[in-house]
Symmetry: C2
Subunit: 339 residues, 2 copies
C-alpha cells in the first residue's frame, strides 16, 4: 500500500503548480479542459498531477462554483426489483453525465420525512433531485419549497407542476386484462396494490376499463400491499370464489403469493385458472408455472429521470415525456378459459 505520508495533508493545486512551474490557475485550466493551453504546459501539469497523485478537492470546487455536480435521490423503497433497478439506472446515468449521486432513503414516507430528506439534500447543494416515490404523499411533497432545485418524480402522478416519469399503468392494466378476456375469461378478479399508491388506482382503472369495453362486470378488487404474503392472502379469497377463472394481479410479487394460494386450494394453473402479473421481475419466468406479466422497463425510467433533471438543471424547458408503455409477456400461467 502506497501511503507515503499518512499524516500529511493531500496535495493541492498549489503543490501541483509549483512542481509544474506554472500558476495554480493554469492547473485549474488543465483540469477543466480549457482550450488555450500549450501542449507542453499541459503535459507538465498532467505529469505533476500524476506524480503527486493529486485529486481536486470537490468541496472547494463546489464552494467556488456553487455547482456541486451532485444529484440527490430520495427513495422510499428500493428493496423491490422495480425501484432498485430504477435507482441503479439513475446512478449509472448520473455518473455518465458527470454527476455524483447522494441518496436518502425513507423508512416511512410522510410529509415530514420527505421534507427532511429534501432539506438535507438541498443543504448538500444538490443540483437536482430524483424522487423514487410511488406514494401519493410524495407527489405532493415534491412541491415543497426549498430553493430552486428541480425535482423529478418517478412513477407517480403527472401533476403538470413538476416532471414525472412513469409507466402507463392504466394502459398496461388494460392490455393485461384484455389478454385474459381474449382467452375467453369472463370472471376476472383483480388483486390491487394498497391505497395511497397512485399506481394502485391506475391499475384498478385499467382493469375496469378493459372489462367495461368487453361488457363484463367488475367486482371489488382484493387489496394487497405488494408483498407475496398479501398476495397469498388475497389468492385464498379469490380461490374461494369458484366463479373466477382468472386474476389480474397488480405486481409479480403478489402474483407469486396468489399462485401458491391457488396451488394449495387445488386450482390448477393455467388449466383451471389464469394469472397475469405486472413488472416482469427476473424470477417471473421461473414461477410455477412461469408467469404471464406486463414487462416494465425500469432502467429506461431511471435514465429518463436523469435526462429530465439535467434538462431542468441546464435551464431548458421541462421535458415532455410520454409514459412508457409496458409490454405483455405471455408465459404458462395463462390459457383459454375452462369449459
Amino acid at each position: 500500500m502506497a501511503r507515503p505520508d499518512s499524516k500529511a495533508r493531500a496535495p493541492t493545486m498549489m503543490d501541483v503548480a509549483r512542481l509544474a512551474r506554472v500558476s495554480p490557475q493554469t492547473v485549474s485550466r488543465v483540469l477543466n479542459d480549457y482550450a488555450f493551453i500549450k501542449a507542453d504546459t499541459r503535459q507538465r501539469v498532467l505529469q505533476a498531477i500524476d506524480s503527486l497523485d493529486y485529486r481536486p478537492n470537490i468541496a472547494a470546487r463546489t464552494l467556488a462554483t456553487s455547482r456541486s455536480r451532485t444529484i440527490g435521490v430520495v427513495a422510499t423503497d428500493y428493496l423491490s426489483f422495480g425501484p432498485a433497478s430504477a435507482l441503479w439506472a439513475v446512478e449509472q446515468a448520473a455518473r455518465e453525465a458527470g454527476y455524483a449521486v447522494s441518496i436518502v432513503s425513507l423508512p416511512e414516507s410522510n410529509y415530514r420525512t420527505i421534507s427532511d430528506a429534501l432539506q438535507r439534500l438541498a443543504s448538500q447543494a444538490v443540483e437536482g433531485i430524483v424522487m423514487i416515490a410511488p406514494q401519493d404523499v410524495s407527489a405532493s411533497a415534491a412541491f415543497m419549497s426549498f430553493d430552486n432545485v428541480p425535482v423529478v418524480t418517478l412513477s407517480s402522478v403527472d401533476t403538470g407542476e413538476h416532471t414525472s416519469i412513469m409507466t402507463d399503468s392504466v394502459e398496461g392494466s388494460r392490455l393485461a386484462t384484455r389478454h385474459l378476456i381474449e382467452l375467453g375469461h369472463t370472471a376476472i378478479a383483480h388483486v390491487a396494490g394498497p391505497a395511497g399508491f397512485t399506481v394502485s388506482d391506475s391499475r384498478i382503472h385499467g382493469w375496469r376499463k378493459a372489462l367495461g369495453e368487453a361488457g363484463l362486470v367488475a367486482v371489488e378488487p382484493v387489496v394487497g400491499d405488494w408483498s407475496a404474503a398479501s398476495g397469498y392472502r388475497a389468492g385464498l379469497k379469490v380461490a374461494a370464489n369458484r366463479e373466477f377463472t382468472a386474476a389480474y394481479v397488480a405486481n409479480d410479487r403478489m402474483a407469486q403469493g396468489v399462485l401458491l394460494a391457488l396451488h394449495e386450494s387445488g386450482r390448477r394453473v393455467p388449466e383451471e385458472f389464469s394469472v397475469v402479473g405486472f413488472d416482469d421481475v427476473p424470477e417471473a419466468a421461473y414461477f410455477i408455472p412461469p408467469l404471464t406479466t406486463m414487462r416494465q422497463d425500469f432502467a429506461a425510467l431511471g435514465r429518463r429521470c436523469i435526462e429530465a433533471v439535467l434538462v431542468r438543471i441546464n435551464g431548458e424547458p421541462p421535458l415532455e415525456a410520454d409514459p412508457l408503455l409496458p409490454v405483455l409477456v405471455v408465459r404458462a400461467s395463462t390459457a383459454r378459459a375452462p369449459g
Copy 2:
C-alpha cells in the same frame, strides 16, 4: 410554492448574523451546539435562521473543517435482495450517525472500475467507504492506496488488512446440509454460485464439511450464476441424476429455478426431493413449495458496516466482528428422504 427570490443567492451565515445582531461566528456556534451561548442569543439566532430559511452550506463547512460527513458506498449489485437490504441498512445507519451517503455502483467489477470508483469517492473527500462487493477482485481492490480513507467490505474474505463484515457461509452451509442429512438424505447435490465469489467457495466448503462429517461423498457441485435462470438449468441436471434425493442450493433465487426444474421433471418436492436454499428472501415462504432456507440478516450486516467505518473514522482500533451466523428456517421444501 414559496420561492421568494428565485434569482437571489441563498442566505449565508452573514445574513443570519446581521438579522440576529451577532457575529457570524456566534451563528456558527449555535449551529454546532457550542455550550457557552446565552439562551437569549441562541434564541435570536435560531429565529433568524428560521425566518431566513437558512441552511448551512455543506461544501463550505467541508472545506473549512476538511470533514465531509459523508460515507461512500461502492456497490457492484443491489438488484438482489441481499445487497439491496444491506445498502438500505447502511444508508439508515449512516444517516442516524449524521453522515450522508454517496453511492457509486459498478456495472462490472474489475480492478479498474473499482479503482475508479474509489478515486471518485476519495475526491469527494468521503470519510469512509463501505464496499458491498462480494467478488474476489473487490477484496483485493480494497487495498489500493488512495489517501487514508478507511474501507470496510461487506460479505467478502477476511483478509485482516481491512475490516470485513460477513455472514458465516461455511457454517451456514454446514447447517443447511446437516438438516438434509438428519432427514435421512445421503445423496445431496449442491448448486453453487459462480467462480470469483468468495461465498461460492465458502458454501461449497460448508456443504463438503457436513457431508464429510456424516461420512458421505460429495460429487462436483453444479455451478450457477445466482440467477433463477441458472438455477433452472442446474436443476434440470440435478433432476436427471436419479440418485439425488436432495439439493442444497447456494441462494434462494437459484433455488426457485431448481424448484421449477424439478416440477417439470416430475420430481415432487418434498415427497421425492428436498431443497434447501440460502438467504431467506421475503418470497421464499411463497415458493411452491415454501422454501426451507438459511436466513441471513442483511440489515444487521449493513449496520455493522457503518459501525466499523465509524470506529475507524474516529481513529479507534478496528472492530473485531465475528461473522454473523445464519439460522435455519424450515419450510415445506424439505422432508424425510423417500424409501
